[in-house]
Assembly symmetry: D2
């Protein structure tokens, strides 16, 4: 089959590799119908993720159709249309039993496109299939489902739920890339009063406003003062970090009120300064973590029901054989305006 493999920092190849086969009774083999690229894939290609070894098929988000099943898979069938979660779950370890699949100790967690071959391929082997794939309702499109493999549960679990967004909350979202925009969409499930979005790119601020942000700011604005102005001087209930830099993290700790929550969603490459000399007295809660995808089934239901309005994150669509071009587009968002790119296979229900 064809697949996109990592070879060395800066080097990726779309070429022929062996088809995957069932290795464990709980595996399934899935024909990939739609797949996307994550910012993490770009980190891997820079050589920043040492667990990824040369020859690895990249990708951890996809929608597809089951082609083969291991002997122990009792609740999936060949032909089932499934969402492949970015997180696999063994279902047996203490973390999986607590719904923290991202921290799985039994061989799951983030393994696809990292410790085992991933989804940017015509076929992919998915371990622990019962807990790591989700049946897609007929009325949900491939493209919408694809956004639930990682982006939407990440924004909802690590941003909205960990941050304890509640009716009436003032939420500040720092960063209006795919995760930040998804946080705008998913936070609205809980009826916040204000959604204030901070991003340097005017186009992303416009996208934020279109999705329901009640105020959009540039980091050059006096963000802290403007947040206080709409909150009777108190600051935000929740600040969601959706960038992954020390500066934006520290902004989050400044805009939040006493008793508030800073929910870090961004992937960081460097430490931040935590101003405990100011914060120790302020009743702040700071959370961070890898998505568990424990909300994926719920989000699929809410998309099916129309309760969750999909944020329309896919800006560029390609065929599988255009994946190298898709990487180029996705790698240069300031020029291309890319948010998420998607590749669709021949069998996808989705035109591209």
């Amino acid at each position: 089959m064809k697949a996109l493999t990592y070879h060395a920092p800066g080097s990726r190849i779309w070429g022929e590799v062996p088809d995957p086969v069932i290795q464990d009774p709980e595996d399934v083999i899935v024909r990939v119908d739609a797949v996307t690229i994550c910012g993490t894939d770009l980190h891997i290609l820079k050589g920043d993720v040492p667990t990824v070894t040369p020859g690895r098929v990249l990708g951890h988000e996809a929608v597809g159709t089951i082609q083969a099943l291991g002997a122990g898979v009792r609740d999936r069938a060949v032909g089932d249309r499934v969402l492949i979660s970015c997180i696999s779950s063994c279902g047996r370890c203490a973390y999986c039993r607590a719904g923290r699949y991202g921290q799985c100790l039994g061989g799951g967690g983030w393994i696809l496109g990292n410790l085992i071959d991933g989804t940017q391929a015509e076929l992919v082997r998915v371990p622990f299939a019962s807990l790591s794939t989700y049946l897609i309702p007929a009325t949900v499109s491939d493209e919408d489902a694809l956004m639930l493999a990682d982006i939407l549960p990440t924004s909802y679990e690590i941003g909205v739920l960990a941050g304890k967004v509640a009716p009436g909350s003032t939420v500040v979202i720092v960063g209006a890339g795919p995760i930040g925009l998804a946080a705008i969409a998913t936070s609205q499930l809980l009826s916040p009063r204000n959604i204030i979005v901070v991003d340097p790119a005017p186009a992303r601020r416009e996208a934020a406003a279109a999705l329901g942000a009640t105020m959009t700011l540039s980091p050059d604005d006096d963000v802290e003062a403007l947040v206080r102005k709409v909150t009777q001087g108190l600051g935000a209930h929740v600040a969601i970090e959706a960038v992954g830099s020390p500066t934006t993290f520290e902004m989050c700790t400044r805009v939040v009120r006493a008793g508030g929550h800073v929910a870090n969603v961004g992937v960081h490459g460097a430490p931040a300064t935590l101003h405990l000399e100011e914060l120790w007295i302020k009743d702040i809660t700071i959370t961070m973590g890898l998505v568990d995808t424990s909300s994926t089934a719920l989000l699929l239901e809410l998309v099916e029901a129309g309760t969750l309005v999909m944020p329309g994150l896919v800006t560029h669509r390609f065929g599988f054989d255009e994946i190298q071009e898709a990487y180029d587009v996705f790698s240069a968002p300031s020029e291309t305006g890319a948010l998420k790119v998607a590749m669709f296979g021949a069998h996808s229900t989705q035109a591209h």
Copy 2:
């Protein structure tokens, strides 16, 4: 009356000042029977707390007897023996209505010995008396009650409850001063499996072991490895910072497991480094904050019932006129072995 006043960095005076008078319908005047010194008082005396102005009577923890009441105080009487909480609560603002008295917006919070005259005096005016004093059960001694003015609720609320200690938890407490020792006592209300205490002073480690620590370590030990050893490699469920330094805070973030809690109780004077490049993926929750004393009534009940075993923190006892000596003893714990010092007035039920 006699009182201990702050005059300038390094300068404190035990001398005559005017008696306090009722200024507001919700005030009471309390004759102080027992009073203690807090580490924060030492910070004030270094000039580190700019809100404290010269002439201010220090102190925010005391036990006493009500001498006079404002016209609006309906549930206290002259002669009532009361605990004076370190935190005052207006009872009306949004924070007080949520039980977050430490963040009171209506004139309360930490005001005693800070914004208004405090408890290191023969008499003290206590505002918002109904919500800022607690009737002391007859069987609870002055000295035990005194430890509930600040130390025990701080360790319980900001350490044990914020850290979500639960049956079976492994708790690491970094620092075995008064707060750390109180955290050993109060965490046992929730039946943790392991209580691991880290402190450089052998005497404090011994005190920790006597109070129920299951393992005591020096910071020179390989704390992280030893914690992992007793937790099947996972780390602690909860790490309680009870020192207030960047080093100890960072130790807390290293010993805690994925999904665990770091509860900062220490008062910090400098920022810490938050290693988000390692922690972003680890599902850590970090909390910090000023005590609310929302647990004070409960803790008094538990002391009365014998359910909470008092940690015996008072190492040195004095008369009121010996308060300058008490300050000296308390300021040099490494020489004197002091944990908490207490001054008792002539009417105290407690001998000294």
Copy 3:
């Protein structure tokens, strides 16, 4: 002043009574600008509420303007436009400190129009004014604010929050009177998937559908089967009882799934049968209780922001001197179609 007083079962008088005066430092006197009648007032008039004695001014919901203040009221001013909550809160007792104002032990709770004179009058004395009145944002009308005195917080706290409505929930609301309709509006703050409303009156079912019910049923339908049909056989996550009869309560226990919640909001006059022989194994949680109005400030904010869409419950509007007619209309809803009736005074911002 003029007021509506209870005299004996079946006997109510709109006539002259003495003006109220400040009796306690925390009292305010409010000129009533808008007032409504509650189903409980009809119970009182039947003689069913023995705490209400002859001569009592009825009513516990109103909007008005402060005319006079007690000496201890520090955060209200003459001229303030306020919502008078159906629940008064002393702010000091253990229940008030826990936000359970409905259970106040310090002289509050449901006292207006019950233990003291109420709001169906030109003037009313409101005790514990700081915690029992709410400043009304300028953009919120008298009529909308009036619905927040009792109906909306009751449906939200005792129905939606106690029932733990959450994104994706299937909610069954039994009864589409004012409380049931308000529960439709307030449950939408939490993005349920299905809102199924059961009521015998076609007009109320139509009102329910207009407010966002996704399915409306008659009690003559096979409610249990139809609920299971839209929930993959499992039943509802939440059933809200908004009638107050054994039959409807028992229906709630049948339509709810294992692990689900029955939230009783209805006022009952007779016991129900609890089929523990079927339910003991089913992980059901049943809640009930008097409103605390702890959510009133939040709901006012959400109305101001437009986040909470007011359900438009007032079907009939009157002047104060038409209150007897208003009672007649409200007492015969099956003939008049009345949901809530409202009386407006000369100074109300609201035309009638």
Copy 4:
């Protein structure tokens, strides 16, 4: 092998039946080393449980040693000493993913000795072995582990946790049979202030007092008044029903304070009367349900650590071939004083 089978109401046989075999990749075959009888087994023998068909091997609690494994069992080995939980969990359905194994939709739940052959046999097949058996620490005896198959998690999850016992709580436990006594032991993990136990049998009241009950009452006492006396007139925070009769359930609803919890653990055969005409206003939460055994691993840890003091429920010990006598003893507790009986096999580490 030998096993105890149900044949008809009143008829049980200890005799030869075929050995169990692996039927599913997730099965294990366990040699039973210790087994007990549950009150539910007596219900089955009365013919009250229609799902149990003639020929069924009874029993759903045991400790044993693994003899054989299905191909899909990856975290158990032949020779492992395991606790067999009374609840099996498929690990895949929505209920199992939420930790509600008792409500498993995927073939688990209470199946042993009910829908499939159970543990009162020399060998037993246990499905879904990874999630339905627990490795026993070496220092925990067979007899102690046996009490964790059903009794202790039931009292802890459905009584203590569902009832929200917390430090300082006043807990009333109605019924001092095995479940009630286990609730005394497990509630102490959360440091209640008062544990008041109600039972008609003096011997059981003595056992309750020995385990830590702070007050023991007969149902003939004025329970409601005595509970109010020790709670400043308020009533209990938590009432745990551990009998299963309408009378005791109704007692629980009367002794609990406003805001309190009634946790029903008893198995009921008849409906109770719920006095909503009194309770609707009282902020009561009532919970009920089948155990999930989600706490079993934790309780095993706490027994190993000595944090949970085992209540010593086994009053009579037998060999396997004495099981008929054990049934007779267990069926007549008022004559024999039996709480739990246990049968030990030849390989048990436990003498009998």
